[in-house]
C-alpha cells in the first residue's frame, strides 16, 4: 500500500512539475527561446504572491487574481523591451540575456526579501485531505494536479483552435512568411511570453503553498521544468504533463527507498529516458 501511495503522491507532484514546464515549453515552441530565468520567474511569482497576501491579507489562492495578470504583464513588457532585441537566427544571445536576468532576479529578491526561507500561508487547506480507501489524498495536491490538466488542455485548445494559437504556430513554423501574412512578430512574441508567465505565476503560487522558498530556489525548478519538457518530447503539451508525472513518480519512489534519493532518482530516470529516446517519449509528429 505504501508503494501505491508513493506512486499516487508522485503523480500529483507531477502536476506541479508540468506547470513549471508548460510555460517553458510554450515559449520554446513559439520562438525557440530557452529561458534560463524561468525558475527564478517562478520564485519571483511566489514572492509577488507573498507581498500581495501580507499587504492585503488575501488567501494565496485569491492572490492569484492579482499575481497571474501581474506576471503576464511582466512577461509582455520583458519580451517587448528586452528579449525581442536579442532574437535572431542565433540561439545564444537570448540564452545569455535570460541567464543574466536569472542572476539579477535572484539578487534583487535577496536584497528585497533577505535569504530567509518564506512560505505562503494557506491555512486549513494545506493539511486537508480526502480518504481513498486507506490512502489519504491531499486537497492541495489534487487542486494543483487538476489545475495542471486544465491549463494544458486550455493551452492545447488555444494552440489549435484560436486565431492567437494559429498565429503562434505560424510564427513557430516560419517567422519570415508569418510577417508577410501581416503578423506582428514583436507583439506575438510578447503575448507568448505573457501567457508563459501567467502559467508560471500559477506554478509559483502553488510552489509557495507547498514548500518554503528562498531567492535561490529557482534553479532546481528550472531543472525540473526542463526535465519534464524533455521527457515528454519537445513541442508536445500533453507529453509535458506526462513528463512531469514521470519525474514526480520517480522522485517519490526514490524517496521511498531512501529519503536522500528523491532528487537523484528523478535525474536518473531523466538520464535513462534521454539515453533511450533522445527526442523524448512523445515527440511532436511533424507533418
Amino acid at each position: 500500500m505504501d508503494w501505491i501511495n508513493a506512486v499516487i503522491q508522485g503523480v500529483l507532484l507531477g502536476g506541479l512539475y508540468a506547470l513549471f514546464a508548460a510555460g517553458l515549453s510554450l515559449i520554446f515552441g513559439v520562438m525557440r527561446l530557452v529561458n534560463i530565468a524561468h525558475g527564478d520567474l517562478i520564485v519571483l511569482s511566489a514572492y509577488l504572491a507573498l507581498t500581495v497576501t501580507t499587504a492585503l491579507g488575501l488567501h494565496p489562492l485569491l492572490a492569484l487574481v492579482i499575481v497571474v495578470p501581474g506576471m503576464a504583464l511582466v512577461g509582455y513588457t520583458l519580451q517587448r523591451a528586452i528579449l525581442n532585441r536579442t532574437m535572431g537566427d542565433d540561439l545564444l544571445p537570448p540564452l545569455l540575456v535570460t541567464f543574466g536576468l536569472s542572476v539579477i532576479i535572484q539578487n534583487a529578491l535577496l536584497a528585497g526579501y533577505s535569504a530567509d526561507p518564506q512560505k505562503l500561508q494557506a491555512g486549513e487547506i494545506e493539511t486537508a485531505s480526502v480518504a481513498l480507501g486507506s490512502i489519504a489524498l491531499g486537497v492541495m495536491p489534487l487542486i494543483v494536479f487538476a489545475t495542471a490538466v486544465v491549463v494544458i488542455a486550455a493551452l492545447q485548445w488555444m494552440f489549435y483552435r484560436t486565431a492567437l494559437g494559429r498565429a503562434f504556430r505560424a510564427t513557430s513554423d516560419n517567422q519570415d512568411i508569418a510577417q508577410l501574412m501581416g503578423l506582428n512578430r514583436a507583439h506575438v512574441f510578447g503575448l507568448a511570453m505573457g501567457l508563459s508567465l501567467a502559467v508560471t505565476a500559477l506554478a509559483g503560487v502553488f510552489l509557495g503553498m507547498r514548500t518554503s522558498f528562498d531567492p535561490a530556489a529557482g534553479s532546481a525548478r528550472l531543472i525540473f521544468g526542463f526535465e519534464a519538457v524533455i521527457i515528454g518530447g519537445l513541442g508536445n503539451l500533453w507529453g509535458t504533463l506526462a513528463g512531469g508525472v514521470i519525474l514526480g513518480v520517480a522522485q517519490t519512489l526514490g524517496a521511498k527507498i531512501n529519503p536522500g534519493y528523491q532528487i537523484l532518482a528523478g535525474h536518473l530516470v531523466f538520464l535513462a529516458i534521454l539515453a533511450i529516446r533522445p527526442r523524448g517519449l512523445f515527440p511532436r509528429i511533424d507533418g
Binding site: 504556430r169 519570415d176 508569418a178 501581416g182 503578423l183
Partner: protein, 242 residues
C-alpha cells in the same frame, strides 16, 4: 486613373551585385501588369523590395500615395500588399485551412467568424476546399502553388503580387488559373504578375514591363513589347539589328 503602387528610383545592391537598378514604375488602381525578363534579372527581388522582405538602398515606394519604404513587412501586408512565392513556402505543420486563416486574421484583420467564411470561400475558388484539413507539408507542388494564391487572397490585398504561379500547370489547370485571376481582378484588386508562361500572362495583363540586370528596360502594351527588339534579344538571343 490614379496610381495605387509606385516605385521611384528604387535600387538595391548586395556588395557589387546590383539587383535593382533605379527602378521606377507605377501600377494604377484596378490594373494588371505583367513582368517578364530572363532568370536572375531581379524580378523576384523587386517583389521582395515591395513587400519588405528586403529594404531598398535608395528610392521611394508608395502605396496609395503613402511612403511605405521604411515599413516592416507585416505592416505593408496589413496595408494591402500580399504576394505568392515562386517556391511555395506554406506553414508546413499547419493545415491548408489554418494557413489561409492566419492570413485572414492577421493580414486582413478579420474576426474569427469572418475569417472562417473568407477562407472557405477562397479555398473553394482555388480548388483546395477538399484539402482544407490536410497539413500543408503533405501537398503536391501544384497544390502548394494554389495555397500560395489562396493565402495571398485571404489577406484581402488591394495589390496582389504573383510570382510565377502558372509554371508547370497543364493546359486545363492553366486555363482555370487564368479565370481565377481574372475573377480576382474583377473584385477591384490590382495585380503585378511575374510569369514565364507568356500566353497566360497575355490573357490577363494590360501592360508589360521588361526587367534585365535589375533595370526596367522596356514598358508598354503587351503585344508591342513582345514584338520589341529588347524582348526578342533576351528571349531568342537575337541581336537587335540582326
Amino acid at each position: 486613373m490614379s496610381a495605387i503602387l509606385e516605385l521611384n528610383g528604387v535600387s538595391k545592391a548586395f556588395g557589387a551585385v546590383v539587383v535593382a537598378d533605379d527602378q521606377s514604375w507605377t501600377l494604377d488602381k484596378g490594373e494588371a501588369m505583367g513582368v517578364i525578363g530572363p532568370n536572375g534579372a531581379g524580378k523576384t527581388t523587386m517583389f521582395n523590395l515591395v513587400t519588405g522582405n528586403l529594404a531598398a538602398d535608395a528610392g521611394v515606394i508608395r502605396l496609395n500615395g503613402e511612403t511605405i519604404s521604411k515599413w516592416p513587412a507585416a505592416r505593408r501586408c496589413r496595408a494591402g500588399i500580399a504576394r505568392s512565392f515562386q517556391v511555395p513556402q506554406p506553414f508546413a505543420h499547419m493545415t491548408v485551412f489554418e494557413n489561409a486563416y492566419v492570413a485572414a486574421t492577421q493580414g486582413a484583420g478579420l474576426s474569427s467568424v469572418q475569417a472562417d467564411k473568407l477562407c472557405l470561400d477562397v479555398l473553394e475558388r482555388t480548388g483546395l476546399l477538399e484539402k482544407s484539413n490536410v497539413k500543408a507539408g503533405g501537398l503536391t507542388l501544384l497544390e502548394r502553388k494554389r495555397l500560395e494564391l489562396s493565402r495571398a487572397l485571404c489577406a484581402k490585398p488591394s495589390v496582389l503580387l504573383l510570382d510565377e504561379i502558372a509554371g508547370g500547370l497543364t493546359e486545363h489547370e492553366c486555363h482555370a488559373l487564368i479565370q481565377t485571376i481574372k475573377d480576382v481582378r474583377e473584385t477591384g484588386v490590382s495585380i503585378v504578375w511575374i510569369e514565364h508562361v507568356v500566353h497566360a500572362l497575355l490573357a490577363v495583363v494590360d501592360r508589360l514591363i521588361v526587367i534585365d540586370f535589375g533595370k526596367k528596360i522596356a514598358e508598354g502594351a503587351p503585344e508591342a513589347i513582345m514584338q520589341s527588339d529588347a524582348v526578342r534579344e533576351i528571349y531568342l538571343g537575337l541581336d537587335a539589328d540582326a
